[in-house]
Amino acid sequence: MQDVAIVSFVQSDCVRHAGAQNEVELIMPVVQAALKEAGLISVQDVDFTCSGSCDYQQGAAFAFVAGVDALGAVPPIKESHVEMDAAWALYESWLKIQMGQAESALIYGFGKSSPGQLSNVLSLQLDPYYLAPLGVDTISLAAMQARSLLESGEVSEVDLAEVVVNSRANAKNNPHAQLSGDFTVDQLLAEPETVSPLRKHDCCPISDGAAAMIICTVEKAKAMGKPYAVIKGIDHRIETHHVTLRDLRRSPSVEIAAKKAGVHDAPVDVAEIYAPFSHQEIIVKRALGLDDSVAINPSGGVLAGHLFMASGLSRVGEVAKRIIAGEYKRGVAHATSGPCLQQNMITVLEGM
């Protein structure tokens, strides 16, 4: 596999309500800024464009098509879309480059969750015969996953609260974060349980926004003369759709993806984990085989701001950004989709 360079990454602030801005108006600024950061003038300067979004957020079939209005696609461009987090749009773009069909790509993800009810929207991804008709929601499923961990004795409430304390503290340095600040474990555990055993702070906030990234071959990145991070490995694995048939305390899909992506081939010093619920960070960290020397979620992670459909891409971008800045040498970015970490994608990044 050939190395692929990440030359720019931009994301918007995570805000609960983007107000009057529609999706196009959320996408335009990040796409323009990502192009500019890579030294490119327009979308015509990349070979391929791929986006990730979910039509159910807007409540309109083919809503993602309108996103193309943000690009400037005249004359026509080569373009694709995944009804997934934009991390999977990165995966498709990476494949395009591997296949020799493109040397550069623009990836963007966007989501305006505020008009709808995200938890109900996500019910629709469940089994349509046995679960969706009952209105089982993602928070409840995550709560049961948390209980299975807590009752096994492997993890305590304190461990969950510590994840949140670290997220909020790290997010103080992230200007795009929605939730940040100094909290103590005792403070958090004094809060009531909302969907027991989860408390409100164990669940990610809901955010509106967008993110964009430019990737290209290493040769092209060198020619651009811009600093970059390198994708050394990438892998995506899926577990069964039937949530009751899984051991929710484990993430075999993360374990396999980590191995295939080469996480263990050399030491890792930073990881961004897409954990919409505090206990999921613990599951993923364990499945990645990371010890406490690794910086976990220096951005604050999605507990500090959750751009649904762009958060996975943001995890990759946050790691790339820090490697480019020289803060870390080798990092792992995790993206997830589906209930209780059903699908997982692992990306391994290194410096130039």
Binding site: V121, S140, P197
Partner: protein
């Protein structure tokens, strides 16, 4: 890696929003495996399927989750079981099966090796919930042939002895699976500015700075260049027919009686057409290039909507502009 200011995001206008409910009123075919499970519910029976490794999977799945082998060996299990996992929903929503606080539970039925997920009713009392507790199915009085024939689980060591009534004997092969999602749709910055002008009886298109195209209605960007349409250009309520169709079939939910004319109209001053109605015209006389003018509703009925213009009608002569 930060955003530059000066973009359209800075032009904040009053947020215009509209509530709507999206319904997916689908009927789903069940297939033989799910159908077998749903058919058995009306007899007050729970059934599972034997997986490749011999474990009994309830509710039954069509393919083994590990080997992907098609599964066909059905096994009867009890309607009583043990809670292996649960969470407490203190604030149920209208999408949930119970309106008072309840638990979601994973219940391993007696005879099954994997749990079924459903609601557990302890009359709103969370302290009655515990992993390992015994529960039984509460059956719906009148079977419908779907998963809701199980109302929920309730604490109990043995079966309730109740069985649903039912008035159908043929196997369940289809089930109604309607889903409704509520939204409060927001108009978008550019569109909101446009609708504020329509509210005042003006058609004000927008263009990107330095751009060639005036968009009516604007949707946020000049799609050709990907630049925000920050400049406003007032257009006339006189337009040219770019194309049209005569609708002869009734459209569900549309109050207008066919036959009627729907046209692509290019307003004077705009570069991109929009769709609206033509009326007060002999349908056979409509042609591309025809000049038309807006017929507005009375001013007191104007709102933030394109139907402030009732329809468009032929322009008799070029000096005959306006008509509000």
């Amino acid at each position: 890696m930060s955003l530059e200011s000066g973009s359209a995001t800075d032009q904040q206008v009053e947020v215009l929003s509209q509530k709507f409910t999206l319904g997916f009123t689908y009927t789903r075919s069940t297939g033989p495996v799910v159908g077998r499970f749903l058919s058995s519910l009306r007899d007050g029976k729970m059934v599972g399927v034997k997986g490749s490794d011999g474990r009994v999977i309830v509710p039954p799945v069509e393919y083994d989750p590990v080997t992907a082998e098609a599964l066909t060996e059905f096994v009867d299990v009890a309607d009583t079981g043990k809670v292996v996992n649960w969470c407490w929903v203190a604030e149920p929503t209208e999408h949930h099966p119970l309106s008072h606080p309840f638990a979601w539970g994973m219940v391993k039925l007696d005879g099954a090796d994997t749990p079924i997920l459903h609601a557990i009713d302890t009359q709103g009392d969370a302290t009655q919930m515990a992993t390992g507790m015994k529960v039984r199915v509460r059956w719906l009085d009148q079977a419908q042939g779907n998963i809701k024939d199980i109302v929920c689980f309730e604490p109990g060591e043995s079966s309730s002895g109740n069985v649903p009534e039912h008035d159908f004997e043929e196997p369940v092969v289809m089930m109604d699976a309607p889903t409704y999602l509520d939204y409060n749709y927001t108009a978008g910055n550019a569109t909101a500015r446009y609708l504020h002008q329509i509210r005042k009886g003006k058609i004000v298109g927008q263009k990107a700075p330095g751009g060639d195209f005036v968009y009516v209605p604007p949707r946020g960007s000049c799609p050709a260049t990907g630049v925000a349409t920050t400049e406003e250009v007032e257009c006339a309520d006189v337009a040219t027919v770019e194309s049209f169709t005569i609708v002869h079939i009734p459209i569900p939910g549309n109050p207008i009686k066919p036959p009627y004319v729907v046209a692509n109209l290019l307003a004077d001053g705009a570069d991109v057409s929009f769709i609206h109605l033509l009326s007060e015209v002999d349908n056979d006389a409509v042609k591309i290039g025809m000049r038309v003018k807006a017929v507005w509703k009375p001013e007191e009925e104007w709102s933030y909507a394109m139907d402030n213009i009732r329809y468009w009608k032929p322009l008799e002569n070029e000096s005959d502009k306006g008509g509000k």
